[in-house]
Symmetry: C2
Subunit: 276 residues, 2 copies
Amino acid sequence: MKEKIVLIENRLKELIPKNSSYQKVLFEAASYSLLSSGKRLRPLLVLATVEAFNKNIDLALDPAISLELIHTYSLIHDDLPCMDDDDFRRGKPSLHKAYPEWLAVLTGDYLLTYAFEIITNAKNLADTKKVKLIRALTKYSGGDGLIAGQVIDLSYEGKEIDFEKLKFMHLNKTAKLFLAAIEFGCIISDATNDTTNKFVEFAKNMGLAFQFFDDISDYDDKKSSDITKNKATAPAILGIEKAKAFALDLQKRALDILKSLSYNTSFLEEITSKMT
Amino acid sequence: MKEKIVLIENRLKELIPKNSSYQKVLFEAASYSLLSSGKRLRPLLVLATVEAFNKNIDLALDPAISLELIHTYSLIHDDLPCMDDDDFRRGKPSLHKAYPEWLAVLTGDYLLTYAFEIITNAKNLADTKKVKLIRALTKYSGGDGLIAGQVIDLSYEGKEIDFEKLKFMHLNKTAKLFLAAIEFGCIISDATNDTTNKFVEFAKNMGLAFQFFDDISDYDDKKSSDITKNKATAPAILGIEKAKAFALDLQKRALDILKSLSYNTSFLEEITSKMT
């Protein structure tokens, strides 16, 4: 896994423009957020899926990076004072604390736009695949995906929410970018629709499990701003024991799907097993 | 021109999702901003360019709409308290005044993402053209385009700026989306690179002229928040007479380029002439 993270980190660094014109500060701010210590889970999932099909991961690197840009833009905007108002992110001041707030808004907009540009310029991918990748990215990160998750999260802050709404929120806010990652891998590897559907079903269980484990870990640590703000979390709604059982069940389902597939899914299994 | 605006307005209404799930408020907010009384100048320029090549404007409608979405997202984010802090837009409360501020941020993000989705789903356009359109859109609206213009605008608020920086700002913040519109029309119409370059040169002069006339009109009316905030404008830097002469010269250059082209540019001429 380590050498793949190095590959991702190096390509990320290469892709940030070194522009010295009037807007230089924009690229500095983008570096500040992109090059902090992320787990790079979404790009890793793209590479792991391409590896499952025994395809060349070099083909997948730039599309994988685009998902890290989308994830990072969503964190930058999510941290803003009018959103979650978080002063820290990945162990350092959030972008709007390190730079002016207006620049944090614009850096998010820039990363969102640049994610699409990177896909259009990816080497050795046919235009048909690029269009499929971009369509998938908009589907999972737009108004029926990531952004829908944010809307429900903020709509219900401080209000009672039931388990169905919580799952809708977690599915959209967290799992959908995992679905995007897995579907990216399938598109790049020319997987059939049927195979893609199975991989995407894996991603749904895996992505939800990830967010449930994250809720549980925050609950155990009592560290998260989600807890202090009384945000909806799985342990708050289900109780800690039920929440843990639910997360483990989702993880098991995800692993079972992988086992049922006749592909080289060992790296996907490793990522899924390490979540707890 | 009127029937084309009706075409654009109707397609805009069709394209806003009528979704009744938890994120319904997102699409309501998007309608609020999209369906206010805009001039629809950017989509009109796409249609006018396609008409110059005697191509079917139906092919261009959805890509044209995507530019209106990009323009609208940029206005929504621009109006935010941490940016220009404008309470009114197009004669009614700005989005963050009519809805919670967090929803204004997310609606901007949604429109930006949805613009790309609309291009991927445009009917009767080859994938090669879709990729070209998306690449052009990111080039003109990203960190070397619209967003660069915003960065310099906010970086220099309340500070002295010279005429070169003002032109850089106006070129990026305003003219670049006009360039995108004209290049969209050229891509859809299979124009050669040489012809495209000439049309883009027209758009550069035309887009700059538009922003100079806008500065001058605000100065004459003393109505704009740009004036009350002491933002950099052409009349403030050059004096009103010189600014007017400069704008007229840009407009004349734009019209001269159109006249030099052997295409049916009457609609482009009409739009350019009406700017004053």
